[in-house]
């Protein structure tokens, strides 16, 4: 015997009333997409649960992929057995032995019977299965409060599913159920994590990056592309918009006093992002700001910078400490890319001192010497878009060499 299925539980979705079906469908589609590289597997939906039939594919590898899918509450490798007492007992015994290879420990049985035609009730089945395990394993005892192993038996219409461990899923909502947002992606540690957390709540993601050649080099751009590629693991298809930002930055550098340069630059970034978001029918912006982390992220700065847009700006990291963000970045695999030492547009032209309490009126006044609409429109028009998706890590430029 071996685990031939993975049982998927989703928590929050089941609360979504009439939309539930639509949420489930989206989740199923996302799961299929993530598991594309395992051709033999079959995904099946059944009320309140989903089952992945392994058909010989590696269960660990499949589980690893599923852990990245938002909308999944938990996973359990499961054994599918026929709907009769004997087979269920045998399966449960195997699962107990498998999770206690030494043969020693405590367990409990939790039967859940959604198939009310099955002749034995949950409580009776608990006893039957528990008794069978106790008779066949010598050094094992029951502990219903803190068991080493909880044997979960689900008696469903088509079969019974037995599992002995529960693996936490990524939680959240299925990507594609909460609308579209535009992520402002710098290449640092914070913004990819902000994108990840936005995805967690089910948004579809597009990303915008401001590129200032020659002050920021090709590697900085590559770094951002690599980050987007990582995010596709969680978000599927993501468009990356690369905005040429050199002219705007040099103009600001010339026209605006040093200590307002950063504030004005941020306001331009927000204006351009908003415009791109509107073009792409996105209804919100996401950035990696954390309150008070740097000069541009004080409440006063946010107040002054945020003035230029009426679009919601989501800030998933707003209350996080740097270390918390780093933990996330490590976990999702963006940290090592983010810390590569290439200049991004936020660090060049950085004045010795930036205002931590910039004034709205002053910022507007300094900007009044600039042709804002023209600058923004030009940047938007010259923006290049590149599409990224899962498993699309191959670069056609080099095809002839491989």
């Amino acid at each position: 015997m071996h685990y031939d299925h993975i049982l998927i539980r989703y928590a929050e979705l089941s609360l979504k009333g009439k939309n539930r079906k639509q949420f489930e469908k989206k989740l199923e589609a996302n799961i299929r997409d993530v598991l594309k590289e395992f051709p033999a597997i079959k995904v099946r939906r059944s009320f309140g649960r989903m089952f992945v039939k392994l058909n010989g594919e590696n269960g660990h590898a499949v589980t690893d992929h599923l852990k990245d899918v938002f909308g999944i509450h938990s996973l359990s490798p499961s054994l599918k057995v026929q709907l009769n007492k004997e087979d269920i007992c045998e399966g449960a015994l195997w699962a107990a032995e498998d999770s206690l290879p030494e043969g020693r420990g405590t367990f409990k049985v939790s039967v859940r019977r959604t198939n009310k035609d099955f002749p034995l009730r949950s409580q009776e089945m608990n006893k039957v299965i528990g008794g069978h395990v106790l008779r066949n394993m010598e050094n094992i005892s029951v502990d219903v409060h803190n068991p080493d192993v909880e044997l979960k038996v689900e008696i469903r219409d088509d079969a019974a599913y037995i599992s002995a461990k529960v693996i936490n899923g990524a939680g959240g909502l299925p990507v594609g159920t909460s609308g579209k947002v535009m992520l402002m992606l710098s290449g640092g540690i914070d913004s990819p994590v902000a994108g990840y957390l936005a995805l967690k709540r089910g948004v579809t993601l597009e990303a915008v990056h401001f590129h200032s050649p020659p002050f920021t080099n090709e590697r900085a751009k590559q770094k951002v592309e690599d980050l987007v590629q990582v995010l596709t693991r969680f978000g599927g298809k993501i468009n990356l918009h690369i905005v040429p930002f050199t002219d705007i930055q040099t103009t600001i550098h010339k026209q605006v006093p040093d200590n307002y340069e950063m504030t004005v630059m941020r306001r331009f970034m927000l204006r351009i992002s908003e415009k791109l978001a509107e073009n792409r029918e996105a209804k919100g912006l996401v950035n990696g700001e954390s309150l008070g982390q740097v000069a541009s992220q004080t409440l006063d700065s946010m107040y002054t910078i945020n003035e230029v847009t009426a679009m919601p700006v989501l800030r998933p990291l707003i209350t996080m400490d740097k270390m918390e963000v780093i933990d996330y970045a490590r976990r999702i695999g963006t940290y090592d890319i983010s810390i590569l030492p290439f200049e991004d547009c936020c660090t060049i032209f950085l004045p010795a001192e930036s205002k931590t309490k910039p004034n709205k009126l002053k910022a507007s006044r300094y900007e009044s010497f600039l042709d804002i609409d023209q600058m923004v429109n030009e940047a938007v028009e010259n923006t290049a878009v590149k599409e990224f998706s899962r498993n699309m890590e191959l670069d056609e430029d080099f095809d002839n060499l491989f």
Binding site: E37, N58, H60, A61, P101, N217, E218, R219, Q222, N391, E393, L394, D395, F398, L401, F402
Partner: protein, 380 residues
């Protein structure tokens, strides 16, 4: 020319050499340089890693580019031993390993590690149960060759991997140098932690290989130097060789779809013809890798046979190329229980997907003649 020494090395594909020269010419920059040329070279290197990763069905970041099999085996074995020595100092391997594994283990024994060499049966195979019996509280590594380079015996990698899945603290290294493309192996399914492959065994170029290091595992580097290849291999990367390897791997995996059955046919046909010759005994097991066939002509010096065949344009070998210059009986065959006259007179044929049945026919004809004429001059 009939080239039947593909386990020593293969003829590189023309396309592979083209890629090598194109990359050497156009992407000569150091991938670590900051300028655009360096950046492009780096991008190409990471592309190669992704492509090799997708061919091997592993994550790109789990691959370290090496110089080949010997380096891969050394890094896997010593890198594990030094890294985990505080956890335990016992290593399990087999009696039919390649010299690089064998010598690495011998070195570790001198440094205070204990090594169990599992004795294979007369088909050159060990069993999962033998591995299980050898396990101790102190065991940190099981290192096993997948396909024996001398006999072609296939070891129970899948079974052993399943066994070791119950011992998460013991690492499992597989020397897959001979098996790559000839005997398919799914690293993930077999629960492998470390796996060595070498490009020139599948029509790539010498000096390139890969060590697969499952994510989550850290080894002690054997080199001091730069940060290249995750710090495992300081030094400017052999970009042209790496890209050429990625190409060789793709081409030879494609060729293996029909190629495996094809060389099986060649191998079993020659087996039948050769065993009918008086004085020839078969060493390889029936159930073996498709590309290796080993037999002996007891009491006849194999070097003489090889030279005689060589004069007629047929190229075969005695034992492993890495130890064939020592005129001693094969360590591997002795370990599998063959007696000395057999172990000292072994001849190994090894095929590639490029070989043909016509070559097989011509070989048997010339081989028969050679053996007959030599029997007249050599005393049995």
């Amino acid at each position: 020319m009939i080239y039947f020494d593909n386990s020593a090395t293969t003829v590189p594909y023309d396309e592979v050499i083209d890629t090598f020269s194109e990359v050497s010419r156009s992407y000569f920059a150091n991938p670590s340089s900051l300028h655009p040329l360096g950046k492009e070279a780096e991008r190409l290197k990471e592309q190669a890693r992704r492509r090799v990763g997708s061919l091997l069905k592993v994550k790109p970041e789990e691959l370290v580019f090496t110089s080949g099999g010997t380096e891969g085996n050394n890094l896997a074995i010593k890198g594990t031993a030094y890294r985990l020595q505080t956890r335990g100092k016992h290593i399990i391997t087999t009696g039919i390993e390649h010299t690089s594994t064998f010598e690495a283990c011998q070195q570790l024994e001198k440094e205070g590690f204990t090594v169990t060499y599992i004795t294979p049966d007369d088909t050159g195979r060990i069993t999962k149960d033998q591995v299980e019996q050898a396990l101790t509280e102190d065991t940190i590594l099981v290192s096993m060759i997948h396909v024996s380079n001398e006999l072609g015996s296939v070891q129970p990698v899948q079974d052993t991997g399943e066994l070791l899945a119950n011992y998460p603290k013991i690492l499992f290294h597989v020397d897959h140098v001979q098996g790559m493309t000839k005997v398919p192996l799914d690293f993930k399914k077999a629960g492998i932690d470390l796996c060595t492959i070498s490009a020139h065994k599948f029509h790539g170029l010498k000096g390139t290989g890969v060590l697969y290091i499952r994510s989550g595992i850290t080894l002690t580097s054997q080199f001091s130097g730069g940060e290249q290849e995750g710090g495992y291999r300081g030094g400017t990367e052999n970009l042209a060789g790496i890209v050429a390897m990625a190409k060789a791997l793709r081409l030879s995996i494609e060729a293996s779809n029909s190629g495996i059955d094809h060389i099986k046919q060649i191998s079993s046909w020659i087996e039948k013809e050769v065993s009918a010759i008086d004085g020839v005994v078969l060493n390889s097991p029936r159930d073996r890798a498709p590309h290796i066939l080993n037999f002996s002509i007891p009491n006849m010096k194999p070097e003489v046979v090889i030279q005689a065949l060589g004069e007629k344009g047929i190229f075969v070998s005695t034992k492993s190329a890495c130890s064939s210059k020592q005129f001693t009986p094969s360590r591997v065959l002795l370990s599998a229980g063959f007696d000395e006259p057999v172990a000292a007179s072994a001849i190994r044929l090894s095929f590639s997907f490029e070989n043909t049945m016509e070559e097989a026919a011509l070989f048997t004809e010339i081989f028969k003649e050679t053996v007959t004429s030599m029997k007249k001059v050599v005393k049995f």
